[in-house]
Amino acid sequence: MTQVKRIAGGQIDRTRTLHFSFDGQSLTGHPGDTLASALLANNIRLMGRSFKYHRPRGVFSAGSEEPNALVELRPGARQEPNTRATVAELFDGLTAQSQNRWPNLRFDALSINDRLNAFFTAGFYYKTFMWPAVFWEKLYEPIIRRAAGLGSLSRLDDPDSYDKGFLHCDLLIIGAGPAGLMAALTAGRSGARVILADEDFRMGGRLNAETYGIGDQAGADWAALVLEELATLPSVRLMSRTTILGAFDHGIFSAVERVSDHLAVPLPGKPRQTLWRIYAKRSINAGGATERPIAFENNDRPGIMLAGALRAYANRWGVSVGDRIAVFTNNDDGLRTALDLQAKGVDVVAVIDPRKDGALLPGIRHLRGATVVDTAGRLGLTSITVRLGNGKAETLAVSALGVSGGWNPNLNITSHHRSRPVWNADITAFVPGADGPPGLTSAGAASGAMSTHAALATGQAQALSVLQALGFAHRTDVLPKAEDAPLNLLPLWYAPGGEGRAWIDQQNDVTVKDIKLAHQENMVSVEHMKRYTTLGMATDQGKTGNVLGLALMAELTGQSIPETGTTIYRPPYTPVALGALAGRARGQDFKPLRLTPSHHWAKEQGATFVEVGYWLRTQWLPRPGETTWRQSVDREVLATRKSVGICDVTTLGKIDIQGTDAGAFLDRVYANTFSTLPVGKCRYGLMLREDGMVFDDGTTARLAPHEYVMTTTTANAVAVFRHLEFCRQVLWPDMDVQLISTTEAWAQYSVAGPNARKLLEKIVDQDISDTALPYMGCGAVTIGGLRARIFRISFSGELAYEIAVPTRYGDGLIRRLVAEGAAFEAVVYGTEALGVMRVEKGHVAGNELNGQSTALNMGLGKMVSRKKDSIGMPLSQREAMVAEDGYRLVGVMPVDKTAALSAGSHLLDVGAEPVAANDGGWLTSMVWSPHLGSLIALAYLKAGDQKLGQRMRAVNFMTKQDTLVEIVSPQFIDPQGDRLRG
């Protein structure tokens, strides 16, 4: 069996044969085919199963509105569920399989649901499965969930890459049918920057599927010529295989270009898809229209499809879906299907036309005043039952039926800003509302202009008005001649038959009965109806069914359609791969990496790194023989406290603050005072948020009378800078203050420990003795003539300095420090050892700076000067925030030094019930102090300053730890600070 349904004509390349498979069956097609057209050419009508009833389903449309022919495309990790066969471009080697069926497509066990349809009405599940209560999670829901969904993901990482980009244009034209092409030609010829985007791989829209001409050419040939000219215009960008997904504010559109989906595998380096963000000054929706069906019993069988699709398969793809076909249409457009197929030699058994009046088609059995009321054929259509104008029923043997209930303008994108479509009685359809996205207009069938002539005319007119608005010189070309026939539509939504089901939403199995039940239960507002019946919730987003459902509800309530309501669409226009929306940001590229100046050196040393924001910092540096991280960290801590340790602290934010008001400015943004700080000195600063909570901390140095450098925490560097700019520009706009970040400009290392000075003396050119550079001193120095900065500050509690050189010398400096440090058995320590030492010293860090704590909580209440106004000072004085029994920072040590302790444990009084009322506080940070030979922790404890020396329990229910602890000062070592000043 090879393509037995091919007939003459079409825009396929018959000189080349493509091999593909469906459910394991090897088949052939041609370039230009979609998977759907190729399957139909091979006489395969059954392609899928519906969601709820597992009804056999075939192709319903010839475009992206397809509800039924959904397949899993491609094998392995590239498996792509729910792919519409109607838009999947055929390529050599394509593999597809049917989905939502078991064990196979022809015999699907869950088609039992179809037999039980009397129970599975709209919303039945809301009324049952409630008893007994535990059965929901244990029994009912697992069964429902197992049956859920359509296609499946492979669970393997997507092997393809995705890209993103940004485009700018004067005019974005959505859709390259007659209206879009005419608009693009008009605008492009005038020199405007135009993007013409179309979801199809072949531009031309309906012109590719129709036999009528434009001017004296076939429509498709006219389209090809226009495209040829457009391609020569430098300001026009043609984007086929590109779907405009959404209209966002101020002329921003998202679009996905399917770069490689027509290939088995993307070419090397090429993305599978590209997400474009398009900035458009103006836009025209020329997205055409979507045909809608008429509901009648068993209108969902494979072989029944939209009339326009039936003739598209014949005209564009050279496929006759059936040998004996019929057409059921309430409008003249549907008649074209019968005429086109008849002209191609297909046996047109009858045209069933509910309209009583009007001319009869020549040479075709044209049944006026008739409707289709039932069909037969388990896995594919075999016959239809027609109710004739005289009321009698007649059964006709047919294998394909084209149905046309009219055309709905594709106004989807015009309602993305929640503009409501407007009912147009002339064409019996909704058209775009006037309050759509500013700058977006519609042309052609999308605007309700249904003839080809009207499409060309409105496309041109809309483009001209855009050109005028944007100030482009333009001319009005004479339009080529094109058909301008009216639809002559007789509204008909539902052709009642007997007691059977008539489908409205094919994928979700919403039938006329469901709409009736929704009405009976007072779910009559459009939103209630949709949500109750699931109408329009399927992957086709109701493109073919929504208006039908609305019209039926209108009939039931006795209201007009516009009175009943409208339905708006949300982005995206068609479902879009999440990979495309993510673009390049995945895996290691999820976020940029920031590397420290010592990174390359540390990597050579086999360091373990840790993510700190976007930074990678050295966590610890294992030495040969060390098998656990604790061994390395303990060594780093002990060696630092004993002799000297080196740590890269470049990641801390550094902000240069200059200007004659710099000191006064700092007094406003810090809770404590900086204007009095002498030049050449540093001071620890505490920064509050306006709500009085601690925002950030760090040391700030005065380098010159009008020049300070502020240090922030790594985590808050960006937020602090933003805040300072707010204070500078918005609160005190006349202060003479200039800000610039210098975080990246300096490689900065902490050198800490009793031998820190001795080590640095070997490196720094200047005198850095205690006299020359006392505790909290700072200044410019040189290293072998190289400009450098030194700050005598300490986070570890040891005699310590931070030494900074221009970043490009950072690698050289760490190597130099290590080399010179060898004499002192210096170590390089990472963030773990840093954390241990700061906890030992009782310094707050990220775990304590949690945004929920005051200076008072941290034991730093005295730093908040109330003699001056500063950010956060006023609100920090609220009653609960200065309460005496509030949280205070304390130290915690287990009474038994071998006992376990963990951060996040809560503190309870000994003997107290473990309930919230007795919750005393919690352990914020916990480390093993090799120095003390014990686990130690910092904690926020209610009235903690009054509880020093008391015993409490540190309870962690997660690890079942309940440890007796002693509350101590948070400064575990050197509370007097002798070491600092050493």
């Binding site: 966002f248 504010d249 101020h250 002329g251 921003i252 900035y279 800003h417 500013p438 008001d661 006064a664 306006e690 709500d691 960006v718 933003r722 700019e725 707010f726 520009q729 918005v730 609160l731 005190w732 706009p733 006349d734 202060m735 001056k868 106004d869 500063s870 000072m873 006023p874 609100l875 609220r878």
Partner: protein
């Protein structure tokens, strides 16, 4: 959204960080203001459905704070000014 920056022209709003109502410009003096005045400043918002003057910061741009007048129902932006100019106009100085 697009914010028409007074110095740089149209820029994608994604480059900006939003703070909130431009009433945050009018920070009371912390030493003299009543507690209620400070509470109102920090916590109470008009939150209009319609025109809203609001503070945006061009974080991935020139670091200017802007006062943007935007309709919160339609997102239409009708005016963009440098916040520093607005602040001075509203009497803020040092």
């Amino acid at each position: 959204m697009i914010i028409n920056h007074p110095l740089l022209g149209p820029r994608d709003a994604q480059e900006f960080i939003y703070l909130g109502d431009a009433s945050l410009i009018a920070r009371p003096d912390g030493l003299t203001a009543s507690p209620q005045a400070f509470l109102d400043y920090a916590y109470q918002r008009t939150n209009p459905a319609g025109l809203h003057r609001e503070l945006w910061y061009h974080e991935q741009g020139d670091r200017s704070w802007l006062v943007v007048t935007r309709n919160t129902v339609t997102h239409e932006i009708t005016l963009v000014e440098l916040a520093r100019d607005v602040a001075r106009r509203e009497g803020r100085s040092k």
